[in-house]
Symmetry: C2
Subunit: 418 residues, 2 copies
């Protein structure tokens, strides 16, 4: 199974194109010399990449600025109205769809609730199609301006074939999700999972931007860690890297739905946090059986009021998290660890402070000293944003794509959307 | 602490130069078209890199082969006598030094024993200088032909400053080892640790060759995991990535010298294996108190004879290893996991078989299916080989190096060696 390592100038050019656009989105308007300084690329390379992005109408010339003593510098900015991108976050209990301009600002949203028992692939596809139709209609734009739709679905995903191989919450096995979606959605489609969507959102727009090595820890119902290595998402040989939720924290500990015992996820995923609470105080009024969101909300309010049980549950959870995050710090030696997803967002600073203290107790000094631990600064749903970013990356990857060697993950049909 | 991600055509050219030389070393003689096919690089790129390596006298033209119907193809091979490389493995109880030709064949060896209590930096430096002097004298070559000396020292190493920041076995803190060595050794010096030396040895000459993503698990007195990502060693932001030995396997488990509890190393490093044996059978004749090597040898012989205690200890150790290696499989999704270092070499196939079964029990199906688990195929000391490879990489990196932005880790003084 030897596969030669191929690094082509094409790969590096695509990565540099991402980097330049990322910088323009972050700092519009900006000049070519400033882009060169911010990215470390040569001025000639920047000028050439800026030319490509101008041709694609993804960016636009917006005037000049004085440069001390020299001739005025041309400024470029994101051409926000040059196209639209759609991000789809399929979660356990809802489908959220957001439509973005090219500055990755949310223009409109749609949300479909999914009741328990509504987890059949056809039902999920129906919800996605309805919500995508809704955002396009709300935005009032022509279908042709949508550059792509990124779709995040929980579990193990084969990105190249578009198959959802395993989604534990619905017990999906080998569902050809991308083919099913392409029957009802006419735009290029890109399938991946929330772990990688959140990581890409942080890399482009959040706390990992500008860092070579970062880890994005997703704390929700499931947990995982998106690995940014050398400025790019590490996917692994079969696109399943980052399954930190299924690393062992306590050998022979709690049973996990993956079949293993003592997985990180069983202690720090939302159901694990509920179990931490139940073990500490079985009759606590903080506990909302069967309702993760309500329980985490109750813990958040409890901590704010100084409730000792709530504080102890958050401290215990942070203790587990600290050991698990230390494993990531010791293994990867990242510059930054970002806590993302809804559990991290709700529990916020009190959780972050306990986690930092716990990581300091467990991690080796040298890598700990090199790592910042922060909450995700992204104000909207990072999974929708990341999914839309997959569509943006797909559009950038296809620039001048004549010698493509691999199958592209994008799928589309030619008819207009229904 | 934002650092822009710099990927330059220079980085990619250095990586491609490594790749082409690696392939020539593996398959001499070979032709430019065969090199292009094996590496995935264009024929023009290969021709240019081969030209550079010819100019450096690292490779040589060795004639022609017929190509079906076409004109004869020029063949190139490693110019084994074009230079020499030295690898130094500083371990807890010995200093081993090997001198290699450019085909990375061992020409001569020297070994210095270190008694307990001989762990002062000056003492270690003295042993290294003696052994390096010995191999150069034995080989009977001119000093000028030595392209560099790679030095591996256990623990946390700052490669750019040449400081051994922390070596737990000797309680070293911030020892300026490279400066001390450069006082007595005249060749360019490259400092790193055994974890990374073994990984680079597998990448160039062993089971990771030709793979994009691989993990090299080092099982010795200490344990760790060298991470090969995208065909290159992942070092992390402060060169301390790969500290798998200090990830948590059992929260609040055995006390580790790093201060944490339940680290992988406390269960599967040689002292941990001795403890596994002592807990199972405190008076076992297999146990040689204070002597890790003798105990592991006794276990190896015991397993070969079907001794039930020895078999149980190896199975228990493999159980711990299986959980810890599954963490690596689930996190990185590598193509291959290589078991290296002396404990893996001694326990061999019986350990490997138990480890494979244990990883299958713990890991997720998708990444497990994509991963081979193998023993290191390198017949000599992989740490010496990897250390020499750092020197080879250093020599290749300096090709045409005029616009170097970072400090080079190589140090040398101008006087000849003492």
């Amino acid at each position: 199974m030897k596969s030669p390592v191929k690094r082509t100038s094409r790969d590096i050019r695509t990565a540099n194109r991402y980097e330049v656009l990322r910088q323009i989105i972050a700092e519009s308007p900006t000049s070519r010399p400033d882009l060169a300084a911010a990215t470390g690329l040569s001025l000639a390379t920047v000028a050439s990449l800026v030319g490509e992005l101008l041709d694609l109408r993804m960016i636009t010339e917006v005037g000049f600025e004085d440069s001390a003593g020299g001739r005025p510098r041309g400024l470029v900015a994101v051409n926000a109205s040059g196209g639209a991108l759609i991000g789809v976050d399929i979660a356990e209990t809802y489908v959220r769809v957001e439509l973005f301009d090219l500055g990755l600002n949310v223009l409109v949203r749609a949300m479909e609730e999914m009741r328990p028992g509504e987890g059949l692939p056809e039902q999920v596809v129906g919800h996605v199609a309805t919500a995508v139709g809704s955002v396009v209609a709300q935005a009032g734009i022509e279908g042709a301006r949508v550059l792509g739709v990124g779709v995040s679905v929980p579990g193990q995903v084969d990105r190249s074939t578009g198959i959802a191989e395993y989604a534990p919450n619905w017990d999906w096995h080998d569902v050809p999700l991308l083919d099913m979606l392409s029957e009802v959605i006419a735009y290029p489609l890109y399938l991946d999972n929330p772990l990688r969507a959140s990581a890409v959102a942080e890399l482009w727009f959040g706390a990992a931007r500008g860092h070579s090595d970062a880890v994005v820890v997703n704390l929700g119902t499931g947990v995982g860690a998106g690995l940014i290595i050398d400025g790019a998402l590490h996917r692994g040989v079969s696109n399943s890297a980052g399954e930190w939720g299924h690393t062992t924290l306590i050998l022979d500990g709690r049973l996990c739905h993956c079949g293993n015992h003592g997985c990180v996820e069983t202690y720090v995923g939302a159901p694990g946090i509920m179990l931490n609470l139940r073990e500490l105080s079985p009759r606590s009024t903080l506990l909302h059986p069967g309702d993760q969101t309500a329980t985490v909300d109750a813990l958040t309010r409890g901590v704010a009021k100084g409730d000792p049980v709530a504080m102890k549950v958050v401290r215990d959870t942070a203790g587990y998290l600290g050991a698990g995050i230390s494993d990531l710090v010791n293994l990867f030696n990242p510059e930054v660890v970002v806590l993302s997803s809804w559990v991290a967002k709700k529990l916020g600073e009190p959780l972050l402070n306990e986690v930092r203290a716990a990581v300091q107790r467990h991690a080796l000094k040298r890598p700990f000293a090199a790592t910042e631990i922060v909450l995700s600064p992204i104000p909207t749903d990072p999974v929708c944003l990341g999914a839309a970013t997959f569509a943006l990356e797909g559009a950038l990857q296809s620039v001048g794509q004549r010698n493509v060697k691999r199958a592209t993950p994008a799928r589309s049909r030619t008819a207009p959307p229904s």
